[in-house]
């Protein structure tokens, strides 16, 4: 059961504890908003077929922020785009993406178009390339309003101005007439969000929306997304490689590696008790506050070649817990605890590790203290 604490604007910078426990394997109280089953994406290349996504399954509940985290080559961005069938031949997408009872991957074009940008919107990493440079921001919002909300004229302008205000852009009415290049980086990202929200989507897909932004601006945009999630009852799938962003913005996390999901869990459970060797490796490789200038603990080796994957677990070549069993059949994603799935044979062993990355709860919770 998801519990969302409504976040009003208090302007109070003290930290708030937000607990989100997600129960994915038991029957959810509310039906999932999005159900992905056995999603596969194959990209033909001169060197062979690249299996970018190899059978991904997950559910997304209403009002939930799901973080899809992985490194380059993990398939996270490809997965996101596959949800809306954004890939063109010769790229092959198979599997099922259920939204509102229909499989998006088999919908006729016109039905799919009404979902895309309507029920499900997407924002991207680089606003400068995602926004049309020759149209004003206002025109781009109006376009969306017309297409999906059938709003015109004065009502549309009013709404467009409201949207810019909602995303925190000052002087929204005047800014409608500005072109993307007249906005600064953070403002452009807000404008892109405003356009995406024009259709009042139930689901927002965000592909690395803050990667190209400065830290202080990233912080603003993440807070904005969370606030919008609350006020608009919207779900979000947030693709990122930054574990800090995941910790700060997500309710649940899905970790991808080599085109498959390695672990899915609630955010507290993932950071407090990871149950996949890859997740453990990732978290351990980050600098620890206590060990100044000590060698870090990297994951040896490099990302896998998706054209030439070894048999068994994709992470096995780099794994320190690898045993013979890992090299046979690829381990499936299984429930290891309520709401916590792992595709690691050794998840039990990992559960025993004291691999908690959360600082001791006895530390005073000041916004300044040991934030990193």
């Amino acid at each position: 059961m998801t519990s969302n604490v409504s976040a009003g604007r208090t302007g109070n910078p003290t930290s708030r504890v937000e607990e989100n426990v997600q129960n994915s394997s038991a029957t959810p109280q509310t039906a999932p908003l999005l159900s992905v089953r056995d999603l596969k994406v194959q990209i033909p290349t001169p060197g062979g077929t690249l299996e970018a996504v190899r059978g991904v399954n997950f559910d997304l509940n209403p009002g939930e922020v799901l973080g899809l985290v992985g490194e380059s080559g993990s398939g996270k961005s490809v997965t996101l785009r596959a949800l809306l069938k954004l890939h063109r031949a010769p790229i092959r997408v198979s599997g099922e993406v259920y939204y509102g009872g229909e499989n998006l991957l088999t919908l006729p074009e016109n039905r799919l178009r009404s979902v895309r940008g309507g029920q499900i919107s997407m924002i991207f990493q680089e606003p400068m390339t995602a926004l049309n440079p020759v149209l004003t921001v206002g025109q781009q919002i109006l376009e969306n309003l017309l297409e999906h909300k059938h709003l015109r004229g004065k009502a549309a302008l009013e709404r467009a101005s409201e949207l810019l205000d909602l995303t925190g852009i000052p002087s929204p009415r005047a800014r409608l007439n500005d072109y993307p290049h007249q906005f600064s980086g953070g403002m452009r990202q807000r404008a892109m969000i405003a356009i995406a929200l024009a259709s009042e989507p139930k689901l927002l897909l965000a592909d690395e929306p803050t990667t190209a932004l400065d830290v202080t601006i990233q912080d603003q945009i993440l807070r904005l997304l969370l606030r919008l999630r609350d006020t608009l009852s919207m779900s979000v799938i947030l693709v990122t490689h930054d574990l800090g962003v995941v910790a700060q913005a997500c309710d649940r996390v899905a970790v991808m590696y080599g085109g498959r999901l390695m672990e899915t869990a609630g955010v507290n459970a993932l950071f407090g008790g990871p149950r996949h060797a890859y997740t453990v490796g990732l978290l351990s490789s980050l600098p620890d506050v206590g060990a100044h200038r000590q060698p870090l603990r990297p994951i040896p080796g490099g990302p896998p070649d998706l054209r030439n994957l070894p048999a068994g677990c994709a992470f096995a070549p780099r794994c320190t817990y690898v045993t013979g069993a890992c090299l046979g059949v690829e381990p499936p994603l299984q429930s290891v605890e309520p709401g916590h799935d792992s595709a690691c044979i050794h998840h039990d062993q990992l559960g025993q590790l004291n691999s908690s990355h959360l600082p001791s709860s006895t530390l005073p919770s000041s916004a300044l203290e040991g934030p990193l």
Partner: protein, 283 residues
């Protein structure tokens, strides 16, 4: 901890096998052309200027595979001997522009400031005039003949290479490897010649190939106008011009030289394409 290199391909293919088909075919064709240019006697017993009044305007037959022209000259021999002439045209209309234009472009782009401004203005001036008109004007002043044509083209043709190389050098100058070379304390000459230029010269080289076929066509055009090679030189363009009066009666006079022109153009085109692929740095 040593990191392993990505694995190399299982079998090692012989170097020539890994050339793309375009480059391979183009090179083979070029070799044939070069052979014809260097050793024309291998291909034909006749001299290009031999008159044979007994065989005027004969259509293609066993003795004269390409037929004869109105002077009884064997067309086949003329085409073969003309290979040398036209390849020379290809080389001499492009050699100076390529070398001069590329180097100037490199210096221009690298140094910037006054050199760039100065050369830029000169280039603007040159470009204002239509290329062919300018060349014809210069040839008209200097007098007809291939050498004057080479002079005329050289005076004008360097601008494209200058522009191409300059643009590429400007871009490469900003690349981090070029900055690294500067921080490593290398002299500007070394940074430009050893680091930037090899990475900036590809567009110019590819354009060179196109330019060569254009050069041949230019020679042909000028020959057609009577401003290029003078008779009895067996230059293909002149031959096509001569043949125009016999299009209906003795089509072979103009057609075979025309085919030769086409072959040469295709050869350079293929090589240019293949080079563009081959020279692109892998990533």
């Amino acid at each position: 901890m040593t990191t392993a290199l990505p694995s190399s391909p299982a079998r090692v293919r012989p170097k020539w096998r890994s050339l793309k088909p375009t480059l391979l075919i183009g090179t083979v064709l070029l070799l044939i052309l070069l052979l014809a240019a260097l050793f024309p006697q291998l291909f034909t017993p006749y001299s290009p200027t031999d008159f044979d009044y007994t065989a005027i305007l004969s259509s293609p037959n066993l003795k004269h595979p390409f037929g004869t022209d109105n002077f009884g000259r064997d067309i086949f021999s003329r085409v073969i001997f003309g290979t040398r002439i036209d390849l020379q045209i290809a080389v001499f209309t492009t050699a100076f522009p390529f070398v001069f234009g590329t180097l100037l472009g490199a210096l221009s782009g690298f140094q910037g400031r006054w050199l760039d401004a100065l050369v830029g203005r000169v280039a603007d001036l040159v470009v204002v005039f239509p290329f062919l008109v300018l060349v014809i004007a210069i040839v008209a002043v200097l007098g007809p003949g291939l050498n004057n044509m080479f002079l005329a083209v050289s005076a004008v043709g360097w601008v494209s290479y200058w522009r191409l190389t300059r643009g590429e050098v400007l871009a490469q100058k900003k690349a981090e490897y070029a900055q690294a070379a500067q921080v490593l304390g290398y002299s500007p000459a070394r940074v430009l010649l050893r680091h930037i230029l090899p990475n900036a010269v590809t567009p110019a080289v590819v354009y060179l190939m196109t330019d060569m076929s254009l050069g041949i066509l230019l020679g042909a055009s000028l020959g057609y106008l009577g401003l290029g090679a003078q008779p009895p030189t067996p230059e293909w363009g002149v031959m096509v011009a001569d043949g125009k009066n016999f299009m209906v009666t003795a089509w072979w006079i103009g057609t075979f030289p025309g085919l030769a022109l086409t072959l040469a153009g295709v050869t350079f085109s293929l090589i240019g394409d293949g080079l563009a692929d081959a020279l692109r740095p892998k990533s």
